[in-house]
Symmetry: C2
Subunit: 455 residues, 2 copies
């Protein structure tokens, strides 16, 4: 029996134990955003560290940050000529509110049919446990075919405020050849998938100042400009009627795709987008399908807008200020820094002399792409096909996973997104679940992937 | 000695008493917006009713409304062929906050130099007392040359929510030939003025609905439209680059002025507008001075705007809703109802099919004008000139006095705005004051006006 077969047999034989372990991890209410759960955060971090230690990892540490701790572990016995993989995950979960919409308690996991319901089941304790159990299965039967490091943070759900500095301060410790990011999903229970691109993000706050203070719109209306009208006009000018963004140079570095590449991308039908979004009419850049527009084309959206009086009733104020939060989703090879310059240039050209403006760059993350034709993608493909019996599809996701950008920037490595959530897992919502066959297949996939990547 | 002279002599002889009376009225903290001051409201209403009664008014009543009571009184002995004047005023005041900025207590009136400092001194207890004392001076010495009714409300500072229905329910009681509205001001201590026009108001809330609920801007950005972007575009399209409003038919009923009329209007210099507004650059409809734009030309301003996430930091939401409060200041002969139709038509034409919209008409008031060449304006002019020694200027104000519109609509009469506040009286602000020479001249002016209007 090969090492691979031995590990797979072990995993199969321990399915009940693994589920029990998963349940015990889900019972820890590790809600990163709530200060009351500080002890739970430490308990969840310790839970992972203990599993790594008992599996045979050499250095395991719960490392402090300004916020919640990071779990680090490494197993480096595969030798210098063998790749080093960094597994990224997070042990924190979203708050469970609104509680009344949960069928069973969020932190009392319940199996109903083939699904396991609990907060964090899919996002992403399921993946963390699956990988830990893959590691256990291999180390209990032989050894790991690759060097492996673990980086499990406790602040993903609050925007990873301390992860960047943690990685910066521990570059040597975390150095690796590839990051395996388990915070991902597949398309359907029988449709395995690899995420090969993510959009980046450039998020800004624009603040427009008119007069020194709020004015009476009767006394001054008509004599002075109104920053809310000005802001509306500025926003209106950022996009044309065909959904194309008009900031100078905005599309300069956008990678284009050949017709063959476009044909290969999975495109969901319009009806699917309408159903998922609840929008009765779709809208976006002309010449592209909704899926293309939401994954491989950049966007510009107002995320928030505030000016003047917004309570009930009517107040005749001529506001002194107006604010908008505006963000762009970026695609290869756009870069947040260049986009900021482009927005600044637009504002310099178009903001009238009747107002002053400030632009604050907030969250930003470069877009990420894993080359289709890379050893990581090939290894993941073979692993998924062996488990699922069908070739995986290649997903391009519209969202941003900031850690992917950080890892690229600070450690200089690509991330392979390989996780086993499903689109209907109710992430960040009541009745979050993990599809249990995916959990089991996930363990097998991670085992196979580690063998495949070592080839 | 004529009746007029006798009244003027009485007023002069009683200056000290009148000031004492003014002080006693100012000591009542009749803050309409604060429920704790309910008793004070009744006390202030009774204070006026008592003065009317002791002056010799026939029917005086403190009449209940759903909110604070209205003081009504009448003296109808001048005969059927003599005009009936309705004096309008309000006995409520603004809250005094921020208290720490007051030099003396807001409800402990203090004379410093020629000014009397107290909340409500200028807005508008000064005018109410001045008129009461004018009436006392005439009735104590002879009688009134006109029939006189009093309508003093207690809810002006909270938007007169019950005045419309009160007037509707008491049309016969309040019937008159002219409303004399004392809630007004003059330009400077030595520059008497009559306000001959006020702008109207049409205030709306526009609500734009995109998808059914808030969406993740990464997952859906690019595939569906964004109601905040749409709203911005709709607002941007309501005004051109030259400050002209582009709603269909918006200017159809705007009265134009001849060059002679325009030359007669007082126009404050640009520097004055900059200083008053705190705006370093002015803006408005091309071809008109700032004063014209703020008084005899209509406007469209955003008063408030809200969508999506407006807290600290960045949240990548694609909002489902966006809202704006938008109001137009109207000039003769625009009408709020027609303006609403114009806005509706604009939205019907320009709102894209990717969103739905709702338009709610909120506060509205027609513009008001007193004909320059009317007996009321002539009478007021003669009265002011006799007291001040110079001809009054004719002011056109940019604000809206809703009661003027109500009186026009419900009683069918014009309002003459004749009050004695000053631009620097700190209305609605700390250290509100009344310039005492204006208070004394106000009494004399009201006496003379009542004689002049009876001619």
């Amino acid at each position: 029996m090969s090492d691979l077969e031995a590990a797979l047999v072990y995993a199969k034989d321990h399915q009940t134990d693994f589920l029990e372990e998963f349940l015990s991890f889900l019972r820890i209410p590790s809600i990163s955003t709530l200060p009351d759960h500080k002890d739970d955060m430490h308990q969840a971090a310790d839970w992972i560290a203990n599993r790594l230690q008992s599996s045979g990892f050499e250095s395991v540490a719960v490392m402090p940050t300004t916020g919640h701790p990071v779990v680090y572990g490494e197993w480096m016995k595969a030798g210098k000529d063998t790749p080093t993989i960094l597994f990224y995950g997070h042990y924190d979960v979203q708050p469970p509110d609104p509680l009344e919409l949960w069928i069973s308690e969020p932190f009392v996991p319940q199996v109903r049919g083939e699904d396991l319901f609990a907060r964090g089941a899919s996002d992403m304790k399921g993946q963390v446990v699956a990988h830990l159990k893959a590691v256990e299965s291999m180390l209990a039967t032989s050894s790991l075919p690759v060097n492996l490091k673990y980086l499990i943070e406790g602040e993903e759900e609050i925007g990873s405020p301390n992860l960047g500095s943690f990685i910066s301060e521990n570059k040597d410790l975390l150095s690796c050849d590839l990051c395996l990011n388990g915070d991902s999903s597949i398309l359907a229970p029988d449709v395995p998938a690899i995420t090969i691109s993510l959009r980046g993000l450039a998020y800004f706050e624009i603040r427009i100042q008119g007069a020194a203070g709020d004015l009476h719109s009767g006394t001054f209306g008509g004599a002075v400009d109104n920053p809310a009208n000005v802001l509306s006009k500025l926003i209106a000018g950022m996009r044309d009627d065909h959904g194309r963004i008009t900031l100078p140079g905005f599309y300069d570095h956008v990678r284009s795709f050949s017709d063959t590449e476009r044909a290969e991308m999975i495109s969901m039908p319009d009806e699917w987008w309408k159903e998922q979004s609840g929008a009765s009419v779709l809208f976006g850049e002309q010449g592209y399908s909704p899926t293309e527009r939401a994954t491989v084309r950049p966007t510009l959206d107002v995320n928030g807008m505030l000016s003047g009086f917004t309570g009930e009733g009517s107040k005749t104020v001529l506001p002194a200020q107006a604010m908008a939060k505006i963000s762009m989703r970026l695609v290869p090879d756009q870069h947040p820094e260049r986009i900021k310059k482009s927005l600044e240039e637009y504002l310099k050209t178009h903001a009238p002399p009747t107002v002053t403006w400030e632009l604050e760059a907030m969250a930003s993350s470069p877009p990420a792409i894993v080359e289709h034709d890379s050893s990581a993608v090939h290894a993941a493909s073979r692993a998924l096909e062996a488990v699922w019996g069908v070739k995986p599809v290649f997903q391009r996701q519209g969202g941003t996973v900031p850690v992917v950008g950080m890892v690229q920037e600070l450690l200089g490595v690509d991330s392979l997104m390989l996780g086993f959530g499903l689109p209907d897992d109710n992430l960040h919502a009541p009745n979050e679940k993990m599809h249990l066959p995916n959990f089991r297949r996930g363990i097998e996939t991670y085992i196979r992937f580690m063998f495949e990547i070592s080839l």
